[in-house]
């Protein structure tokens, strides 16, 4: 099928370039279509470059964001779905309104706020913005609402506290939702570009996205096309693995958003 070829061609091209010696590509990038191929560029990425450091930063930031979102949204989702407190409905609507706020409406003042708090070039500075999105709260609230109330009422009669019911009875039932929200949060944090671009200005705090952008901008001075492409392949491997492992959750979550 023509479409599949058009889709795959850029990926194959990248892979081919990454397997060629830089000197050969300098002469003519058309040599990428023929042997000899080499793993030299990958060796260079693994040895000399900052890519490992950036990979580690991306892992820390994405995992931190994911854990933070799961904790905050599970607590809030349970609260909004099950408990009575003053202004509950108003607060829920107030949170949902946040879904309509695009990033560029807040990113500038947030940059100043984080500067005043000395949070730039730090892991909390990279993680915190990812925790404020209201989608997870909406998602978890819907999920908690779908669990039959008889379950908590039975536990309540046994004298269990709210926190205990939440932790022991309901939370284990939300595991599929946790997986879906977790994967999506991880992907979004991993691929976020604008915020880390302006918040992490020092190379040792770059995430992979920002690091690769800087490598791309300095392309003329770097060690060559093959090396750059090997870096791109290296950088996309972790996320492609996450995608392959969690394909089911991703597809199910997308199907869920289009429902109704």
């Amino acid at each position: 099928m023509l479409g599949a070829m058009l889709m795959a061609a850029p990926l194959v091209w990248t892979l081919l370039l990454s397997l060629k010696a830089n000197s050969e590509l300098m002469r003519d990038s058309g040599t990428a279509f023929s042997a000899p191929y080499t793993l030299e560029n990958y060796r260079a990425v693994l040895q000399g470059s900052s890519a490992f450091r950036w990979l580690l930063n991306s892992l820390i930031v994405s995992t931190g964001t994911m854990i933070g979102v799961l904790i905050l949204c599970s607590l809030a989702g349970y609260g909004f779905a099950r408990l009575e407190f003053p202004f509950r409905r108003t607060l829920f609507v107030f949170v949902l309104l946040g879904l309509a706020i695009p990033e560029q409406a807040v990113i500038l003042p947030r940059h100043q706020l984080f500067a005043a708090l000395h949070l730039h070039n730090s892991y909390p500075g990279l993680i915190l913005p990812g925790l404020a999105g209201p989608f997870g709260v909406f998602f978890m609230t819907q999920y908690f609402r779908a669990i039959p109330r008889e379950l908590d009422e039975a536990a309540m009669l046994d004298g269990a506290s709210r926190l205990r019911i939440f932790w022991k009875v309901l939370l284990p039932l939300t595991l599929p939702a946790q997986a879906t929200l977790g994967v999506f949060t991880f992907l979004a944090a991993w691929n976020d570009y604008w915020w880390p671009l302006i918040s992490a200005t020092r190379s040792e705090r770059f995430t992979l996205t920002v690091g690769l952008a800087s490598a791309q901008m300095n392309y003329a001075q770097t060690s060559g096309l093959g090396f750059l492409m090997a870096q791109a392949v290296f950088a996309s491997l972790p996320i492609l693995i996450v995608y392959l492992l969690f394909q089911k959750q991703i597809v199910r979550a997308i199907a869920g958003t289009s429902g109704r």
Binding site: A76, A105, P109, Q112, A235, I239, Y243, I250
Partner: protein
């Protein structure tokens, strides 16, 4: 039971408070500050003076901003209809329980998990005239390489193609999910009526997918109005601003020229545009009579 009531009621608040604090400090407070900032002149050192609607007046007269706004609309108009049609066609073609179809769905979705930096890195060396894939193919058939990224008429289409390649996965999956929800018996009834493929598509499939189409168009419109990374990395908005979208304008005004108030005003205008699209989606997707 009644004795513990006030405490019980506050218990509920305790569950939602941690999120609310983060939400207020990191989303709502900056949103309000941005609004205030758009009526100020501010510099790098934090000096602020109120200037009323000066920033907005300046935007209204700034040809660079007009150009950026025009580019954003062009990109959105190029990307959204093409993406909608392509992904709907793909979903129709791949809505089969075979292994091959599953494999192709995986291929078409795979680009969407890549970050914008990887996507632009890949496409830079597909499009660049001195080492790109397209240039190699053109040379192989004896044609001249085309400098897509530095030609003022080709930069925006190049960005559009890159973006379509990158964003194809999500709408395709949304359409596939929509197709799964159409009950089989409608098609069986249509088959009895000897309805052709086209009739079935126009009379059954498309009307059943109405909400998905609206969702895809609106999500993509909101996303493409905010297109940023591709333009910053592939063309840097050039040549001479010919492919600079509004978000890149905001980025340059704030983090390159440090005109914070001016950038904030531009951000507010884009926010209003995105908000309009979001509201239009709710309006268009509202349940109609008989549904």
């Amino acid at each position: 039971m009644t004795a513990g009531r006030p405490a019980r009621r506050l218990e509920g608040l305790a569950f939602v408070t941690p999120f609310l604090i983060v939400y207020l400090v990191i989303l709502i407070y900056p949103l309000l500050m941005g609004f205030v900032l758009s009526f100020q002149r501010a510099d790098l050192f934090g000096a602020r003076t109120f200037v009323g609607i000066d920033n907005y007046a300046r935007l209204a007269a700034d040809p660079v901003f007009h150009q950026a706004l025009g580019n954003t609309f062009k990109l959105t108009l190029l990307i959204v209809p093409a993406l909608t049609v392509i992904t709907l066609a793909l979903a129709l073609a791949l809505n089969r329980p075979t292994r091959g179809a599953a494999w192709l769905r995986g291929l078409f979705f795979s680009s969407s998990v890549l970050s914008v930096t990887i996507v632009t890195l890949i496409w830079r060396f597909v499009l660049t005239p001195d080492a790109g894939l397209v240039a190699e193919i053109l040379q192989a058939i004896g044609a001249e390489p085309i400098p897509f990224l530095s030609d003022r008429n080709l930069a925006i289409p190049a960005l559009a193609v890159t973006t379509i390649w990158w964003s194809i996965g999500l709408p395709m999956m949304l359409f596939l999910a929509g197709l799964q929800q159409i009950p089989e018996d409608i098609y069986e009834a249509a088959a009895l009526d000897r309805a052709g493929r086209w009739t079935r598509f126009w009379r059954i499939t498309l009307p059943s997918l109405r909400r998905t189409v609206i969702l895809v168009v609106m999500l993509q419109t909101a996303a493409q109005l905010q297109l940023f990374g591709q333009a910053q990395l592939l063309t840097a908005g050039g040549p001479s601003g010919a492919s600079r979208p509004v978000v890149l304008f905001i980025y340059e005004a704030s983090f390159v020229r440090w005109e914070l108030g001016y950038a904030a005003a531009a951000a507010e205008i884009l926010f209003m545009l995105v908000l309009l699209v979001t509201l239009a989606q709710y309006w268009a997707a509202r349940p109609r009579e008989g549904e």
